[in-house]
């Protein structure tokens, strides 16, 4: 029952928000948002305490992979809502009901994706996340955001369509195989009896489809536009939670393929996508002048690392599970801080925002810290995960992968450092006056930063265990 509630509750709240005339205009029902978010988080926490049985005939279940994504989403959502409180003091969206309604719808859809064990249901949830976020990208209602929305919609929809085709291929692979159709545990259980040719085709199409939503190069093209034009807190949710859901889709099918013993077929593809994404990210991060687009490409980079770890197998799978968490939190952190910069200076470009240590000390500090966190410097969590993935590359006997990875990480660091430090340090433009940073706007990112820092030196027991089990499910192992 709880799983169903987790998926349905936000939507139930969303319905009145969207229809009741009380919420017409710019007023945002923050209280409802907060209530729904906290309830959701509470329910998710209860799942950790008391693992639930599968529901809807096994269509909904909470396995380690799903729990990781679900928790990540829920936490990020709560943080985003707290941030919203401060955000709404400076800016009001055109339509408060669309804002709140879509956020809640997104939470529902993401929960469905995280808990779905029926791949068609997973697909439905995935498409729903795309659609629920689109209006949020278009929140500013100007030409640029319109263009971004259009590209985001078309590319993601095409990608997701390909994923649907892949799902059907998977169904064909299951022809005449015992077990409920397209239900994950049964697929895994009888993986070796699946038709290998269809399974391969299914894997590739699902990879491209969900890869498009993750933003793997070369299907990443919508990402900088969408992240750059959406309000920062929405970008944060997309980069932190939405990509997590998309990665979950890839991970699910990988789970099946690994179980079917087709690892030697799947892993090179994953590694290839990983390296290409790293390279593309590096190319676009050099000389980038807009922090939000920079973070978008950094997200491309980290998606690449995720599939790279998955493809390397061994401890790499563990690494990319850990990286999923770390990257999600770090991206949320960075986008929310960037949001503060945009609120204060009206822009996220190096041209307009300079010398923030003077005008926005707290945000600037968080931004610079974030630079080191995102680039995988010790002692932040991303260091742990990236180091694990690097080790996986060497253990798996691909030293050249390690070399390329390190080279790209180095180039990316130069690009990011140049921009972030460029806007954090220096003499602020004369016009800019110091802004008082409301605690609502700083608390969220600070909390995320603290968590990322903690994960670098201490991984709580339950999380550790869940990560390990997820890694094993993906054909890997815990270090």
């Amino acid at each position: 029952m709880r799983l169903l509630v987790i998926c349905g509750l936000p939507l139930l709240v969303a319905v009145p928000v969207l229809v009741l005339p009380a919420f017409r205009g710019r007023r945002v029902p923050v209280a409802l948002l907060a209530a729904a978010a906290l309830a959701h988080l509470g329910l998710v926490a209860s799942l950790w305490v008391a693992p639930p049985p599968p529901e809807l005939g096994g269509w909904l279940a909470a396995d380690p992979l799903g729990m990781i994504v679900l928790t990540l989403t829920s936490v990020l959502f709560v943080v985003t809502v707290t941030y919203t409180v401060g955000y709404l003091r400076h800016e009001k969206p055109r339509s408060g009901r669309v804002f709140a309604g879509c956020l809640l719808a997104f939470l529902s859809a993401a929960s469905v994706v995280a808990l779905a064990h029926h791949l068609a249901l997973l697909w439905v949830g995935m498409e729903a996340t795309t659609l629920s976020v689109a209006p949020l990208v278009f929140l500013r209602r100007d030409r640029r955001s319109l263009e971004a929305t259009w590209k985001y919609l078309v590319i993601s929809s095409v990608g997701i369509a390909l994923a649907l085709l892949g799902t059907f291929f998977l169904a064909s692979a299951q022809e005449g195989v015992p077990g409920r159709p397209l239900v994950l545990p049964d697929l895994v259980a009888h993986a070796r009896e699946l038709h290998p040719a269809w399974l391969r085709a299914a894997f590739l199409f699902l990879l491209v489809g969900f890869g498009t939503k993750m933003g793997l190069a070369p299907m990443h093209t919508w990402k900088p536009d969408a992240y750059g034009e959406a309000p920062s807190l929405v970008s944060g949710l997309m980069a932190g939670a939405l990509t997590g859901c998309a990665f979950l889709g890839v991970a699910r099918v990988t789970e099946v393929v690994m179980a079917a013993g087709l690892g030697s077929f799947a892993q090179p593809v994953l590694v290839g996508f990983g390296l290409v994404s790293l390279a593309v990210a590096a190319v676009f991060i050099i000389g980038q002048s807009d922090v939000k687009r920079l973070l978008a490409y950094s997200s491309v980079e980290h998606m690449g690392l995720l599939v790279l770890g998955l493809g390397l197998g061994g401890v790499g799978a563990y690494g990319s599970m850990l990286h999923l968490v770390n990257n999600g939190l770090a991206k949320g952190w960075m986008f929310l801080v960037t949001g503060n910069i945009v609120l204060a200076t009206g822009s996220s470009t190096a041209a307009r925002a300079r010398g923030l240590v003077r005008t926005l000390p707290a945000s600037a500090a968080l931004l610079v810290l974030g630079l080191f966190a995102v680039t995988g410097s010790p002692p932040f969590g991303l260091f742990m995960s990236e180091f694990t993935i690097l080790r996986a590359a060497i253990d798996a006997g691909h030293p050249w992968v390690a070399v390329v990875m390190l080279l790209m990480l180095a180039i990316i660091f130069v690009g990011m450092a140049a921009l972030v430090l460029g806007i954090a340090l220096g003499e602020p433009p004369s016009a800019s006056l110091p802004v008082r940073e409301s605690p609502w706007l700083v608390a969220g990112p600070a909390a995320l930063a603290a968590t990322v820092l903690m994960l670098g030196v201490f991984i709580p027991g339950p999380l550790q265990e869940v990560l390990a089990r997820a890694a094993v499910a993906l054909g890997g192992s815990a270090p």
Binding site: L131, A134, P224
Partner: protein, 212 residues
């Protein structure tokens, strides 16, 4: 039964080619509507025996793909007061040739696919061809509205492939998929409205402000 299905599938492929060939947006949309209608018939025809499941699915398909969405798109072009797709990025002849190529490719691939037994031999090639042609329309046309049409065709193709799985993909899922397609195209339509308002044209190639 079987031959009827064959015929319908053939018509579907023809509608694809027709859409590729036409210059007029209105006929383009009419073509999609027709295709939707044909798709609505198919579940009943391909199913081993007529079942509530198949009929309901067919009716849902007709409702969404043959009536609501086409009407919606037609309204969109009325708003925009544009009649024809002027100079697509690839000429009409060329795109028809591309379509033919896609068709050939589709049959070639389908011939090599280990197809499930007792299926319509035409079903898979038709669906693959439709997918590819949808993709061609998406990539070679300028008007945002035509791109929506292209997406719709792509979806239709996938839907066709889904028909090989009617029994393994449960009814709810089918409807869910249908709903998603509906909402998806609906949202796209809304965006198209806004594009039309902002740029007073449906030419999506003018949305090139965001670059690196």
């Amino acid at each position: 039964m079987r031959n009827a299905a064959q015929l319908v599938l053939l018509l579907v492929v023809l509608s694809d080619l027709a859409i590729l060939g036409t210059t007029r947006l209105s006929s383009c949309i009419r073509g999609v509507a027709a295709q939707g209608l044909l798709l609505g018939l198919l579940p009943v025809l391909v199913a081993p025996q007529v079942s509530v499941h198949a009929v309901a699915l067919g009716m849902g398909t007709v409702l969404v793909k043959a009536i609501v969405l086409p009407w919606f798109l037609a309204r969109a072009i009325r708003e925009a007061a544009v009649r024809r797709e002027i100079e697509p990025m690839v000429g009409f002849i060329a795109s028809q040739l591309l379509g033919a190529l896609a068709l050939a490719l589709a049959f070639a691939i389908a011939a090599r696919l280990p197809l499930p037994a007792l299926q319509q031999p035409l079903l898979v090639p038709a669906s693959l061809a439709t997918v590819m042609i949808g993709f061609i329309v998406l990539t070679t046309r300028r008007k945002a509205i035509t791109q929506v049409v292209g997406y719709l065709i792509l979806e239709n193709g996938i839907y066709l492939f889904g028909l090989t799985q009617t029994e393994s993909v449960p009814f709810l899922m089918e409807l869910g998929v249908l709903l998603d397609v509906f909402v998806g195209v609906f949202v796209m339509g809304i965006v198209v409205f806004h594009i039309n308002r902002e740029f007073d044209s449906l030419d999506s190639t003018r949305l090139r402000e965001l670059t690196d």
